[in-house]
């Protein structure tokens, strides 16, 4: 069984590789200002006050759901069953794999169409299906590109954001061997046209369609997806069987609540007022319906989320996966999503990953933040991401997982910081030493034990005696 493996413990090496990868850096540079600028315009267009008030409503709505999660999940299940669908509870990713495989086998599936779903990534569904002789076909353009490249998504809403246009061209020339090798693929539109033609043909082959869900509505039993390509709709309505994969916190109570989330979701994500397609699905095709699947299944994944309830990490479950936090994160912008080493990158991943795969495995991520606070500033659900990353650092510190050198340095520093008189002496002495090393040059190119600072930049030398000493001498 291949659950989604993590390279998170190698975060440092991953980020060095990412910095050295010129294609990646060029892709990150072109994505950098697009998302940020578009969200800012969307917020300004709505009015900053209204936008921020909507964020409060989103936060309150999700807090209410989390406080009553069990009740809403039961209500949702009742409604799905009443509309003729099936609900499968998956406690772990392995359970979800088994459930999905079982449904596919019963449907006699050889090919499965996939809309974009991060829960499927979290559960390693593609590998599991492939290992069991079923071919998953990603229908989202970005997902299709990374499937060709045998990669995982590097962003939760723009999975191929790390790939440059020339790289896509190269991939298409390699993969679409049935087409003329000398065809014109110079423009972006020609690439899009080719992808659409290739993917359209595949929609009709599949027996099962798998999609994710941006929300599950308790009062109606509906699942909601938003896409810009319409691929989700085709994936779910053409095959005989539709499987929705969603995690338990995707619940909202009513249609009106779903509308609240929709108003803030696309604006935060891509700066659109609404995504191009917003699709509500409810049960299988009824008599008289012109289309729709014969079977409708929902796989509800927990995979560690219920353990977050009632802890300092509960707020993370408000996340609606808009991606704004990573779009605005300077660390994400510098190293890209793959460096994070598991399904969820950026600030939301830095909180969620240790929750889902353990802090021993995911511990780097909450540390790899400057706490600049931009993520919390843009999060539509007002999730205090830096605060929760700090909570992970506290857990690591309590459990002695903090690196020894850090603990040691911190211990000495803390000892002095709590003793002002000795601290005065120590800082005066230390600064006098640094000044000597600086020999009047105003800066130091190398400082013993401070290589990780001076490898990339000079260390400004202390100006003179400490402020406290000078102040005492003057007054």
């Amino acid at each position: 069984m291949s659950l989604h493996a993590s390279t998170t413990p190698q975060f440092k090496q991953n980020s060095r590789d990412a910095l050295a990868d010129e294609n990646l850096q060029s892709a990150l540079r072109s994505a950098r200002n697009g998302f940020v600028g578009k969200r800012a315009i969307a917020r300004a267009k709505m009015g900053e006050d209204e936008f921020d008030a909507l964020r409060n409503r989103g936060r309150d709505l999700k807090n209410h759901v989390l406080a009553n999660l069990g009740d809403y999940l039961e209500a949702y299940e009742r409604e799905v069953i009443a509309s003729g669908g099936h609900v499968h509870w998956a406690e772990t990713a392995a359970d979800a794999q088994a459930i999905v495989l079982d449904i596919c086998r019963k449907a006699g599936a050889k090919t499965v169409n996939k809309g974009k779903t991060m829960i499927s990534e979290e559960c390693g569904i593609n590998d599991h299906l492939s290992a069991n002789g079923i071919t998953p076909v990603e229908t989202d353009l970005g997902e299709y590109i990374i499937q060709l490249r045998d990669e995982t998504p590097s962003h939760i809403i723009a999975p191929a954001v790390h790939v440059t246009v020339p790289q896509v061209r190269e991939e298409f020339l390699k993969a679409h061997t049935h087409l003329d090798p000398d065809r014109d693929l110079s423009g972006l539109d020609t690439l899009l046209k080719e992808a659409r033609a290739v993917l359209r043909a595949k929609y009709f082959e599949a027996q099962v369609g798998i999609t994710g869900a941006n929300m599950l509505i308790a009062e109606t039993g509906q699942s909601v997806i938003v896409t810009n390509e319409g691929n989700g709709d085709l994936s779910q309505s053409l095959p005989k069987v539709h499987i929705v994969m969603a995690s338990i916190e995707k619940i909202v109570p009513t249609m009106e609540d779903a509308a609240t989330v929709l108003r803030i979701l696309a604006r935060s994500a891509t700066g659109q007022d609404m995504s191009v397609y917003t699709t509500f699905s409810q049960g299988p095709r009824r008599a008289g319906d012109p289309d729709g699947p014969e079977e409708y299944h929902v796989v509800l994944l927990d995979n560690g989320r219920s353990n977050m309830l009632g802890t300092e990490f509960q707020d993370m479950l408000r996340c609606i996966r808009c991606g704004a936090c990573m779009n605005h994160c300077p660390v994400y912008q510098t190293v890209g999503g793959h460096a994070y080493g598991w399904v969820y990158p950026g600030p939301m991943g830095a909180v969620l990953t240790p929750s889902l795969i353990g802090v021993e495995e995911g511990g780097h991520l909450p540390n790899a933040s400057t706490f600049c606070g931009r993520c919390e500033d843009v999060c539509p659900m007002r999730i205090p991401l830096p605060k929760m990353m700090r909570h992970w650092r506290e857990r690591e510190f309590e459990r002695n997982l903090t690196p020894a050198a850090t603990r040691w340095g911190l211990g000495i520093w803390g000892w002095f910081a709590k003793r002002p008189a000795l601290y005065r002496l120590a800082t005066r002495g230390g600064m006098a030493g640094l000044r000597l090393l600086g020999r009047g040059r105003g800066r130091l190119g190398k400082v013993p034990l401070a290589g990780s600072w001076t490898d990339a930049r000079d260390m400004p030398a202390p100006q003179g005696d400490t402020f406290m000493a000078q102040w005492r001498a003057k007054r």
Binding site: A368, T370, R374, T406, W413, G414, W453, R457, M459, A461
Partner: protein, 247 residues
């Protein structure tokens, strides 16, 4: 006359005392009596952000005791002021909570104290130079410091030419810059490039951590931009060499 306690901050104390003296001058010019409590070391942020809550809480209590008797506490740093304002009330427990809240309510970053609390419209320095301003993260996002330094700078004759991504982190992040040096180095390279692209002769900011990071990168790359804390310019104290420059 308001009695103001100066929270010097550990980096200013050690590396750039002139920032402390410039802050004192600005406060005195604005009619404050300034005192510097002896029992100060650091705000405790290194411990707090490394997950060592217990040490951070002890340091917070020490700061509360040393500073709570003044009318105001002012720091030449949005980061340290932000820790006192936003984090102390969360960090301490029991009877310390109301005391932390009271301290938080009267603690300010220097430029926002001058503009928002004292209503200062202009300072006396005369500095007809071209500068660019980096918005340090905590000051900007925790305390809302953005327009205040620009307003005061305008009164000295400084022209601020905005750089791209002025509000994006410089990559300092306290211990981040030594824990993840490669990422930090790339971030500060971007920052210094954006700053020099404006053609400004001065790069200003309100936090010495960010300034040392940016100045160190600028000098390593031979960028030839003068890096200073904003209060040095506001107080007209630019006769000292810029950060990282020889005498």
């Amino acid at each position: 006359m308001p009695r103001v306690a100066l929270f010097v901050t550990c980096l200013v104390d050690m590396f750039r005392p002139s920032v402390g003296f410039a802050t004192v001058k600005l406060l005195e010019d604005a009619g404050c009596t300034v005192e510097v409590p002896e029992a100060q070391t650091c705000c405790g942020q290194p411990a707090y952000n490394s997950g060592d809550r217990a040490t951070a809480a002890q340091i917070a209590q020490q700061v509360i005791v040393a500073f709570e008797s003044y009318d105001y506490v002012v720091a030449p740093s949005g980061s340290c002021a932000g820790t006192i304002v936003k984090d102390y009330p969360d960090l301490v427990q029991g009877a310390w909570v109301p005391r932390a809240q009271a301290l938080a309510a009267k603690t300010h970053e220097i430029t926002s104290f001058l503009v928002d609390v004292l209503g200062v419209e202009s300072v006396t320095a005369d500095m007809p130079r071209l500068a660019t301003y980096h918005d340090s993260c905590s000051g900007l996002r925790t305390l809302g410091v953005r327009d205040q330094p620009r307003k005061l700078l305008a009164s000295t004759g400084v022209t601020v030419r905005e750089m791209d991504e002025a509000e994006v982190c410089c990559g300092f992040g306290g211990t981040f810059c030594v824990k993840y040096p490669d990422i930090s180095a790339s971030m500060v390279a971007d920052k210094v490039r954006h700053a020099t692209d404006t053609g400004a002769e001065l790069l200003l900011a309100g936090d010495l951590g960010c300034l040392m990071n940016m100045a160190g990168k600028a000098s390593r790359e031979g960028r030839g931009i003068e890096v200073r804390h904003v209060v040095e310019v506001l107080a007209g104290m630019t006769d000292t060499p810029a950060i990282g420059e020889p005498k």
